[in-house]
Symmetry: C3
């Protein structure tokens, strides 16, 4: 199985599928091609949330603002999965979770993929990363290093998410991503909110009840809840939380118990 | 084969695909993840239009404004298909059509799925309904009841579409959904229009010719026609009918022969 | 393998997938259902760019402003592939490239598909073209003519792209399509720009550097480059080129060396 993730929209992902289907019969499953454009951190967040639900697979990831520069192409093995994508950190939050889920040692192995001059300098998804993913699929995830194009490397870019700051009477964090429903997902762990369900809180001074479910408030009302990713999110029942809390990706969030 | 339908956009459906692919090798086919948000009736309409073209399959449907509440998870068997989704009525218009197509008795069997406490109260698509669909696939559509998690039930929510009112010189109906082309699809059966093709009609007082095809009028002109679903629709050749007839989902439509 | 391409958005493509899955176990791969609405030339361009990356397959293509009229349904065999779609020219730019890639003779064979009265006059994708594609898949791409519904034809619609005009000190072309990133893709072959990388050029009087990669300019800056399709494109690093060069599909582009 090969999953595909990118910020390409349509129809560029189809060229990657063609390249993969030309070389392997592996099942192809789209994760998303609608990641926020060129947003490495948002893609890293979503991959970390979604990929752990898949069985061991090859995951092709192309969110690549540096396309055409000298940045390396990587294959990252973690928990039986192999993630293939650019050396800009996008693969590592997911890789750490996959490694931790599989194994208490949480081992991650990183390989650089040696690629020939690509047909295009602007579409490495098609000309570099899809061939790399097909090569992993053909070689086998457990034996990537049997293929001489893959060389172990020790240094690579990484992405980490900021930790929130616990304060007396609340917590200061930030919005990591906004989902398609308009839920603003923060870096605040959900456990922090658990003691406050049923109470009112303020977010940057805006009042909202802390609730376990969207349906805990009437339609069109604000709430603070814990999303499916386990983080605190700012939401509106059946409407957009980002707009009603006036936040977007990167916004500082000051959460206070009342 | 398992089809997937939701109002999730991207990338949440990928988590459901991961759960399914972890448990079964069944083919996964997306019906849509772009159903109008939280709109049970629109989803019910589209499923009724689309699912009958599929061979017998498991259909996972998650349009679920009540996520996190006590509403049940259902498996509905009809015409050899099994539809899996929340107990809010979304499954039944399609189930009735599948049952009618397969069998003059049109039998529908409804089972409640007993689920464990889900990992998240806000993403039952991933934590409840995808596992339920995988369980149906593993157990077999014809023998769902062999799995003790499925219990026959007699009471459940339903969704029906309103009937139009035939009047002298016309018909009063309403817009059920608007498609991506901007065609406003009404609850008026197409047969009612068949006698009037080539004539002019009015819709809420707005003049338009009744035509068998979009190409029956010049580009950018209004027409009233019968869509692929068999209902009367308000359209514009190569443009949006909803805007040019000033209607949206739920709008009353007064159609008069002239 | 059957690929699917249309301008349908969602959920109409699912009905086509149902029809195909009812008749064949072939792998179904979406190319795009987001082609610009009713834009035969844009679809023809994208198919020519994407389909050559696929292994030999059946390609179902439905961009069909003439749906419901008498226009024929075609199956076009080229380079081992068969493209199925309406007789409006949309299939031929891709067919020529597939034929050229496979064979120096570049042979293209065109068949008309005799179809029964469709269930709907507005959704031939479901009622005519998907059944035609399934029939090609069942009959075999190499032996389409063994099925009596397919008759060789000599006359059909075609789509060609205009050639640019080379002038002293520059070239005059036009924008063929704009991609989802906002890159405005012209009909000017990339080789013409190759001698000018690193220099400044003007586009309709607007200054921009000619660069080999997006990263050749700072974020948010204009550039003129060669896209993955091999044509000159007007771009902005991490933003939309169409807006910043004030062009859209069909715009005249006057490119001058400086």
């Amino acid at each position: 199985m090969i999953t595909l993730s990118s910020d390409f929209g349509s129809p560029y992902p189809a060229a990657m599928k063609g390249v993969l289907a030309s070389r392997t019969d592996a099942r192809l499953i789209d994760v998303s091609h609608e990641f926020p454009r060129q947003d490495i951190r948002a893609a890293a967040f979503w991959l970390r949330e979604v990929l752990p639900y898949f069985p061991p697979a090859v995951h092709l990831v192309v969110v690549d603002p540096g396309v055409g520069t000298e940045r390396a192409a990587l294959a990252v093995r973690a928990g039986g999965h192999v993630l293939v994508g650019p050396d800009n950190g996008v693969l590592f939050p997911a890789a750490r979770t996959l490694a931790d889920d599989a194994d208490e040692h949480g081992e991650i192995e990183v390989f650089e993929y040696a690629y020939d001059d690509p047909e295009s300098v602007t579409f490495h998804g098609r000309d570099v990363f899809a061939p790399a993913a097909a090569t992993v699929q053909e070689t086998g995830r457990e034996t990537v290093e049997a293929e001489e194009r893959f060389t172990p490397v020790e240094e690579y870019e990484d992405v980490t998410f900021p930790d929130p700051t616990i304060r007396e009477g609340g917590v200061d964090g930030e919005v990591l991503v906004v989902d398609d429903f308009g839920n603003a997902i923060t870096n605040v762990p959900g456990e922090i909110l658990a003691d406050h369900f049923g109470e009112a809180v303020t977010v940057n001074g805006v009042w909202a009840p802390a609730q376990r479910t969207y349906a805990g408030v009437d339609t069109d009302n604000r709430l603070v809840t814990v999303g499916s990713h386990g983080n605190v999110e700012l939401a509106v029942n059946q409407d957009r939380g980002d707009e009603r809390f006036s936040v977007s990706t990167g916004s500082r969030v000051r959460l206070r118990w009342t």
